[in-house]
Every structure is written in structure tokens, then in C-alpha cells.
Symmetry: C3
Subunit: 341 residues, 3 copies
Amino acid sequence: MNISLSRIGEIVGGEVDGDGNKNISGAAGFDDATVNDITFAVAPKFLKQLYVSKAGAVIVPKSFSVRGGNLVKVDNPKLAFIKILEFFNTGQKKTASISSSAYMGENFNHGKNVSIAGFVYIGNNVSLGDSVTLYPGVVIEDNVKIGSDVKIYPNVTILERCIIGNRIIIHAGTVIGSDGFGFVPDGEKYHKIPHLGIVQIDDDVEIGAGNTIDRGTFGKTRICRGVKTDNLVHVGHNVIIGENSIIVAQVGISGSVTIGKHTIIAGQAGISGHLSIGDNVTVGPQSGVAKSIKSGETVSGTPTMPHKLWLRIQSIIPRLPEFKKKLKEIEKRLIEIEKII
Amino acid sequence: MNISLSRIGEIVGGEVDGDGNKNISGAAGFDDATVNDITFAVAPKFLKQLYVSKAGAVIVPKSFSVRGGNLVKVDNPKLAFIKILEFFNTGQKKTASISSSAYMGENFNHGKNVSIAGFVYIGNNVSLGDSVTLYPGVVIEDNVKIGSDVKIYPNVTILERCIIGNRIIIHAGTVIGSDGFGFVPDGEKYHKIPHLGIVQIDDDVEIGAGNTIDRGTFGKTRICRGVKTDNLVHVGHNVIIGENSIIVAQVGISGSVTIGKHTIIAGQAGISGHLSIGDNVTVGPQSGVAKSIKSGETVSGTPTMPHKLWLRIQSIIPRLPEFKKKLKEIEKRLIEIEKII
Amino acid sequence: MNISLSRIGEIVGGEVDGDGNKNISGAAGFDDATVNDITFAVAPKFLKQLYVSKAGAVIVPKSFSVRGGNLVKVDNPKLAFIKILEFFNTGQKKTASISSSAYMGENFNHGKNVSIAGFVYIGNNVSLGDSVTLYPGVVIEDNVKIGSDVKIYPNVTILERCIIGNRIIIHAGTVIGSDGFGFVPDGEKYHKIPHLGIVQIDDDVEIGAGNTIDRGTFGKTRICRGVKTDNLVHVGHNVIIGENSIIVAQVGISGSVTIGKHTIIAGQAGISGHLSIGDNVTVGPQSGVAKSIKSGETVSGTPTMPHKLWLRIQSIIPRLPEFKKKLKEIEKRLIEIEKII
């Protein structure tokens, strides 16, 4: 596919500075772009190298003043570049069709343009909106509702009664709606607490590969609009993750935790049960969160502390042997003085 | 379904105090219960609020002395409540049937009331007891033996020769019987150690979603009776987990570790290879266990130390910058003194 | 199957010392071996116990001088033993056949002796080499290329265009080629970065169960020749893992990290994005790698420090309460002195 630079300017809402008739056939990274590709530059170091790039055109910040070459000036070059990338890669969509080797239970409802691959299992009373793609090996249990423009990758399991919104991507191998981890001691043994709630995933969410998201004991585990989770994330029963929060790989969130909006939980962090994490919080990687965190805080460590304090402590810890030695030496000198006076 | 409060008293072995003819149609949490629901109260704060609950009846501790309303008095209100919850939710069981789109190998034996969904694959020489439910996408390889009253959720893999006992639940996406991680250096390269053992899962075990439980190199990896694992737990080859132990989410247990009975390993903890963890041990979250732990101990941290010591250290660590400053100041004062005398 | 001790000597390239006609029918661990089994001994403690073993023959180091019994002397007894183990366990291979309940897309090419189980899904334009075994529930998406002597266990997902080399094992439930975790802020929301790259897995790699290996944003995520990963490992987009490196269970590797050759990343360690880890590096368990590491280093802790320093600090940390007390005491004594002089 070829499009003119002017058309690209229209797509990204930018201003073309150069040859608007220049044909562009692809989008590529700064170092890989060839004469028919468009690329983008943000950091000053890239702006300086503009003339060494072989790219046919470059998307740059509006503030960029140097002239020459084929430029597209926008507010957010990376975002504009991604929109062009998407433009060139729309051809990968699955054709709408329902495989004869898929299984559909009773009372199955679906919208237009659904693509259901072989070995997809759909239980009873399931509904899908428009433009839903179910890859092979997906299992959707009874009474699940799925919205429109949803892509569910291979071998994902969605258990009974869960609700999946619109414009959602769920990556391969993920489990939605497993029972929460709850048991009541019964003498030496444990008695299972039945999990009667659901998982609700709101619009515009992306769930990584190999996640496990438990259903509520009662009520729901809820992943709010715009949340993105990375791979191998564990979300316990009755957790609520607020809008547009980011959960990085291998994070573990215990039962009944509430996380606010625009919060970032970095990789391998763990959050103890029943805590409340505010809005716009950042939790550092591998942190062990053992108490609630107020909105706006940036914390790290185990247990968590203000990130700046944690940084100072990280610089002190490797010096502990030195402090230990110094303490010993000071005591020795003190003893000498005490002998004298 | 409606049952009388008297019938509920019989089911839970409790004493009814109030209207035994009161009809109850469901069970719900304290705040959600309506006039036809039964709920439960344990903590004093809930007992005080009994009269604000709209619940039709409340399960309370025997020791509870206040009269009025419809009460069911038992030793363990939470456990009694769960039994009532289960009573109201028995209707969710799968109908016994073997899907025509399941695959069964040679010499397949099974008991009564088995439910085998579409796209279940069963290898050769597999046996299932009574009331086994295999959800879609489950793969059972050759020579696996499964007992009675077992529920295996979608996309679980159980590899050859593994043994699964009775009254077991295995949640979605879990892998039982993958090869252990063992290699012998062979010059620059590594040579794989074949894994010829099995995984044996004893009665009354519940395995979370997304677990990986490796088979023994020789002999077996064994999950003993009553063990419960949360999601995304890794269990290495030849590990033994003793009866009624609890393994929380994202714990990693290296090869040949032995864990005793009634032990709790909290979330994201890791245990190095070949260690022995005793009975009634508690290992704190994110702990790094690098040496064996005796029965009855409660440990935390990396490496592990007594939990109480760890708590004190956690309170000291954020004060390290202060101690560093104090040390410097003391030395200064010492120098002053040394000048004088 | 029975083979003579002489034949075993030939297979492992060792020297037989004893009865070359002795028939051996199996291989077993030191304590389990019976009169028809061969076992091996390396550690001095085992060599001393040679005469208590009931084994029919023992593989020992060449340096071992004591005579008597049936010995096979080799450079690397463990490696030799494993080769004999493999010899006795070749019977477990799947018969070559393509199940009638597998699905193959258009333009499917495959070599000799392929075994494709039921409910395997293969997209369009997929090629397999010779002796490839695909277990049930495996999903191979469009345009994937797989070499020869490859074993892919149940419920593995390999997404479009990924390249899998020769002599590769991928354990159950693993996902190869999920999208990387990349988003561009777009006001309050995040805009997904399309992931157009692939995952390339080179020859002689073994990938554990439940791994998630993301595709490159552009270009590739590459697992080089001879790498072994344990279970539940996360590998981000555009990561490169060098030849013969070892990644232990539950490690998380963020996007664009480069790891050298012969490096070991121990269990539950995490590596921040865009770092470079050299050759022959060892990263301790649960370490949090926040800066690049030079070749040959052995590091531990969070953030990482030389392993020896970390060990000293681990011995100091439990003594912090003692140091705190000492510091207080010293200051008191200092004040006393200051009063006097």
C-alpha cells in the first residue's frame, strides 16, 4: 500500500513540511527506515541525526524549527507514528467466519463480523457483540457476555457469568474468573469458600498473556476502563483496578485490594489483601505493599516507603559494613578516653 | 429454592433462636443481605450492627448473648455460612455426559456421572473415578489415573502417568507433570536430564490457576492431602508439600524441597532447592528462603529471619539515613574531645 | 530391553572395569538401583558407599582408583548416566501420525515423522521440519516456521510469523509471540503500540511451562542457541538472551534487555528495561537488576551489588537493632565525657 505524505498529514492531524506528494509505503524505526518509509523523532539526539536517516519522511514535534527534508509536524510524534503503523497493518485482521470445528452451546447470540476459530468452545447463553475475534482453543463458559471489537487470543479461558466490555484484548493463556483463594479452617483441614461473584472487565482494557484474574467471592472483581496489564499478573478476588491504571508483569494483587485511577504498579510488586491504593500512585518494582497508599504518592521497597527515601537507603545499604567498622572504631576510641579522664 | 430456618439449623448443626418457620431463599454478605437472605456475623463490630442489617436471619457465635431477631447459633459462624452458601448453589454442577467432540484414547475407563466437555483430549490407558468433570480444552496424557469427585477446569494439562486423587479441584490453565529444570553441563552446552518420575496429587487438594508442577526426576513430586495452592505457583521436581499446607500466589518452590504439614508460604516467596521446611511454619510474603526452617517457626525477609526480628528491622531501615548522620556527628564530637585531652 | 555392560561402555565412551557381559536392563538413582540397573557415583561420599549399593554396575570418574564390582569409568559420570537413561527411555516417543481431529490451514508443509495430536490448530502457511511432535491443544498461528526434532507440549500457543529452530522443547501452556507491553500516553488514556516484530527461538533451546515470551515491537525477541528457561518466566519485547544462558523460574525480563552468553539469572529475579547483562554473569535469586552488569560478575540484591558484599550485608542486617542500641549507648557515654571536660 502506498499513500501520500499529505494523506499521512491528514490521518495524524499534522502539518506537512516538504513534498506532500511523496509516496510512503511503510513505517519503521529511526535506524531501520528506508526511502519509502516514514519514521519519527522526539529526543533531541534523534533530531540532530535527521539528515543521516534514510527515511522518506520523519514525524517531528511542532516545536522543531530546522527545515529541509520531508517532515510531518505534530504535538505527539510517537502517537502519530503509531497511528500510521496501525494504518499500514490493518491487513492482518482475521476474516469473519465461524469455524465448523468450533462448538457453540444453546442460545448463542452474536453480532456482525465475528470470527470464531476451530476448537473454540462456547457454553450456553453466551453473547458476543460485533467484530469479536476468538482464536483457537478459547473457552467461554456459560452466561458470559462479551461486547464489540474484542480480540481473545488462543487458549484463553473465560469462566461462567463474567462480563467483558468493548474494545478489549485478552492475550493468550489468560484465565478470567477462576475461584478466589479463600478457605475457612475446619479443624486440621480447610473448607473451601464458594466463589459466587464474577469478573467484570470494562471497555478499552488490555490483559496480558498468562494472567489469572479471580472472580469475586460475592460481587465482582473489576478491571475498570482503560487498564492495561502485562504478562503473568495475578489479580485476587474482589480486587478493583481503577481507570487507566498500569499493572506491569508478574505483579500479584491479593484479594479485596482497591487500586485507584492512573496508578502504576511496577513489575513483580506484591500487594497484601484488603489495602487501598490511591489515584496517581506509583509503586516501584518488587515492592512489598503492606499498608494502604494515599493518592499521588510514589513508593518503593518492602515495606513501602517514599521512593526518594528508598533511593537514599539503597545507597546506604552497601555501606553498612563500613558503618559497622566505624562504630567499632569509635567505641574503641571512646574507651581510650574513658580510661584517661 | 426456599428453606426454613429450622432446616438451616439442622444443616449447620446449630441452635435456632427466633422464628424457625421463617423462609430463607439465599445467603449473602452482611451488607448485601435482604429480608429473605441469611448472613453471618463474627467480629464484635458486626454483632453490634445486627439490628441495622436487613437480613432475614443471622448466623452468630454460640457465645453471643443478645436476643431478638432470627439467629442461628453455632461454634463457627463462617463455616456454617459457607455450608449454607453451598446448599443454595448446588445447581451449578455440569450434567453428566461425554461430548461427541471429546477425544478418548484406547483403554479408557471411567466411573459414574462423568462430564467430559468438547475438545477434551484423553490419551491411552486413562482412568477416571465417579463424578469427574473435565472442562473444555483439558488434556490428559497417557496412563494418568484420576479419582472421584474431581473438577478440572479449562485448558489444564496433565501429563503422562501422573496420579490425581479424590475430591480435587484444578483451576484453569494449570500444568501438572512438566519436566523438572535439570541439566548437566557438557562443555559449553547443557545436556537435558530426562524426567522419568511423576506428580502425585493426594485427596482434597485444590490447585490454583496457572500453576506449573514439575514431575520428579525419578520418583515423584507429591502434593499431599488437603494442600491448597493459589494462582501462578511454581513447584519444582521432587518437591513434597505436606498435608493441609497453604501456598499463596506466585510462590516458587525449587526442586527437591520438602515442606511439612500445616505450613503457610505467603505470596511471592521463593524457596531454594533441597531445603526442608517443617510443620506449622509460616513464611512471610516475598521472603527468600535460603536455609531450612524448623517446625513452628514464623520467618520473613531475605534471607529469612524470625518474623519479630524482621519487623524491628523493617522499622529501622527507613531510619538508616538518620543513623548515618548520627554516626558522623558522634565522630566529630569525639575528635573535639581527643583534641582537648 | 537388556544391553551388555560393554555396549554401555561404547555408548558413553567409557572404559569398562569388570564383567563386560553383565546384562543391564535399566538405570536408576544410587539408592534405588537394583541388581539389573546401572547407577552413577560422583561425590566422594557415594564412592565410599559403592559396596553397599545393590546396583549391577556403577558409572564412576576416571580418577576413581578402587577396583572391584562392575564399573564404567568416564570423564563425566552424571552426563554418561543421563545418556544411558535416555537410551532406556526412548520407547516413550509418540507414533508419527496426523490426527483426523487436528486442523491444518492452507499451504501446510511438513517433513517426515511428524506427530500431530487431536485439537491441534495450525494456521495458514505453516511449515514443520522432520520429527516434530505437537501435543493436543497446541495452537500454531499463520506463517510460523518450525524446524526438526521439536516437541511442543499441550496447550502451547505460538503466534503469527514466529520462528522456531531445531531440537527444541516447549513445555505446556507457554505463549510465544504475545504483544509486548507498550503504550503511548494519549491524554488520560493509553494508546497501544502495535507489535509487528516476531519471536525467534534458535536451536537446542528448552522453554519451561507457563512462559510468556513477547514479540518485538519491530525486529525480534530472540532466544539464542542452547538457552534453557524454567517455568513461569516472562520475557519482554525485543529481549535477546545469549547462547547457553539459564533463566530460572519466575524471572521477569523487561523489554529490550540484552543478556549475554552462559549467564545465569536465578529464580524470581527481575531485570529493568533496556539494560545489558554481560556474558558469564550470575544474578542471584530475587535480585532486582536496575543497572547493566559487566561480563563475569556475580551479583545479588536489590539493587544489585557484588554477591560477596551482599552476603556480608545479609549478615549485618539482622544485627541492625544491636547497632542502633550501641549507637545510642555511645552517644550517652559521649555526653558524660562532654560534661566532665
